[in-house]
Amino acid sequence: MRTAITYRAILFAWGVAAFGADTILLGKLPKGKVVMVMQPHHDDHTTDYGMGGLIARFVDEGYEAYYVRASNDEKDGSHGYARNDMINLRESEEATRILGMKKVISLNWRNDYMGPIPLDELRAQLILLIRKYRPDVILGHNPWEHYQKNPDHRNVARAMAEAWWMAGYENVHPEHMKLGLKPHQASYLYLKARLDWGLGHTPNLAIELNESQVRRKQQAYQTHRNVYANPASARAVKSALARENLTVPEFEGLDDQAAAVRMEEWHMDWISRVRGKEAGVKYAEDYYFVDEFDHLPGLKAYLKENVRPK
């Protein structure tokens, strides 16, 4: 007898068991106009550990969104360095367009070689972009994440961790003022990292997503066909299940490519539900949120009490 199972049910059951049921505070988005996402790679805007849904929500709430891709992604894919770079950039443009972002700015540092780069130089590029686009909010990897083995993630996060506020200081890269740019400091940071990589990233905020934001996140993710939604992954799942006499009814009538896309979409749906359950809503994403006055720990309580609307 062949047993039909729901692939989603398996994923979901595993997720609930793996992540427990602690509730994280639900947050609103801050007021603002521009959000910049600063990441090393073409696909870091949407992964199982975040961002796609939040980006879609920022756009829904009226923000202009920009994506900074710091590396050239030459190692992602199997088409050779130069072609990988081009395919990944194109897919990144398409995926971020689905999320509602305006532009991908590619800095083209060599992929996976960002460990020994001059960090002040990368930071200067980010500062220049912050002064040009004047974001209120910046999204990126958590620079304090533990066990982050990828040097690109570590170093882009580190450059961002200083760029977001240093861009507001006149004595930092005064040459930018020659272009008529003015110092500008972003006020809020949303940091993400894998939640199963140790204590270096403990989220303090959950962001609720609606159905449509999750759909855009699913689509953005599977748009990166050079690295995700490979037909071989669907083939592998199908044949592994077949050995146990199992099938996935949702795969019926789908070729391997379509089945692989479906799997990636379930993956995004599943993780959004897991985070949602933790926050007491249907869908969510988790972040470490850095608030505007967190850098002044001795003044925070005073400001909360004494700052008034004008």
Partner: protein, 288 residues
């Protein structure tokens, strides 16, 4: 067996050192990335040690040239130097030694270059206590503190090892092991109070009551006029841009800037929190 005897000798030397320290207040060496961090995170404790008779030295790694309002980098650096000295005096510090690295540009400076300069001073002053920025602090956005802390932690280790900086032997700068180490940071890390683990060899949280030296800490923080003005004006600019106000900053002048600095210090409370590695940190539990 031989290993055990050697270990006993080493532990004995450390304990002798501790007894010696109990007799005379130890030299205190504070490694600081910038002008404000050591004052805000450890100023009360440093003042307390100075009051108890310790000679205190501060090594300031960067020149703070970027943190000002309406001043050039050169002018900022010049003022910050004088103001750091005034702040240190208020805490009872004997001397501030500037290393002069450009602020906010440590990422691309040689790590061992900073470390080796710190080793020199550790061997010269032979401190009984060191304060270093905690490089493991999360969410401190000033990464100069991270780079300085990492170099200082290694300098603390390497200063005690004869094979580092061989030229020092010719000028009679011998290896020096500092018995007590305080890792300091302002309270930005939400998990700062959690013990790292139950292991003996991991520096553990330690709180120091600074109620008795709070006034000195306030005086020290108030002396940092350039960075205080920068903080006040940036805060006001942010509030103005978002249609908010803080009545204290309706007019920004010397007295409101000073008042904000005082509120800031008081807001940090009368306890300073550290990670602390003392003498027993070096002796495994089973030998104690």
């Amino acid at each position: 067996m031989i290993k055990r005897v050697r270990f006993a000798v080493a532990a004995g030397a450390l304990l002798a050192c501790a007894i010696d320290l109990a007799a005379a207040p130890p030299v205190v060496l504070v490694i600081a990335a910038d002008a404000s961090n050591f004052v805000l995170a450890a100023g009360g404790t440093i003042a307390k040690m100075a009051e108890a008779g310790s000679p205190v030295y501060v090594i300031r790694v960067t020149n703070d040239e970027k943190d000002s309002w309406g001043l050039t980098a050169e002018e900022t650096a010049l003022r910050s130097r004088a103001e750091t000295e005034a702040a240190a005096r208020a805490l009872g510090v004997k001397e501030v030694i500037p290393l002069g690295y450009r602020a906010a540009e440590l990422a691309d400076v040689s790590f061992s270059g900073i470390r080796d300069r710190l080793i020199f001073y550790i061997r010269h002053y032979k401190p009984g206590v060191m304060f270093i920025p905690n490089p493991y602090t999360e969410y401190d956005r000033v990464l100069d503190r991270y780079y300085t802390g990492a170099a200082a932690e290694d300098a603390f280790r390497a200063a005690a090892l004869e094979n580092f900086q061989l030229a020092h032997a010719d000028v009679e700068l011998g290896p020096h092991l500092t018995p007590e180490l305080y890792y300091y940071a302002q309270p930005v890390d939400p998990r700062r109070k959690e013990p790292e683990s139950t292991a003996t060899f991991v520096p553990q949280p330690r709180s120091v009551d600074i109620a008795g030296t709070l006034q000195k800490k306030i005086a020290a923080a108030s002396a940092l006029k350039t960075v205080n003005e920068s903080t006040a004006r940036r805060l006001k600019a942010r509030l103005d841009a978002t249609e908010r106000r803080l009545s204290l900053l309706d007019a920004i002048d010397e007295s409101s800037i000073r008042r904000l600095a005082e509120v800031h210090v008081r807001g940090l409370g009368t306890t300073e929190e550290f990670r602390y590695a003392g003498i027993e940190f070096r002796i495994p539990r089973k030998y104690r």
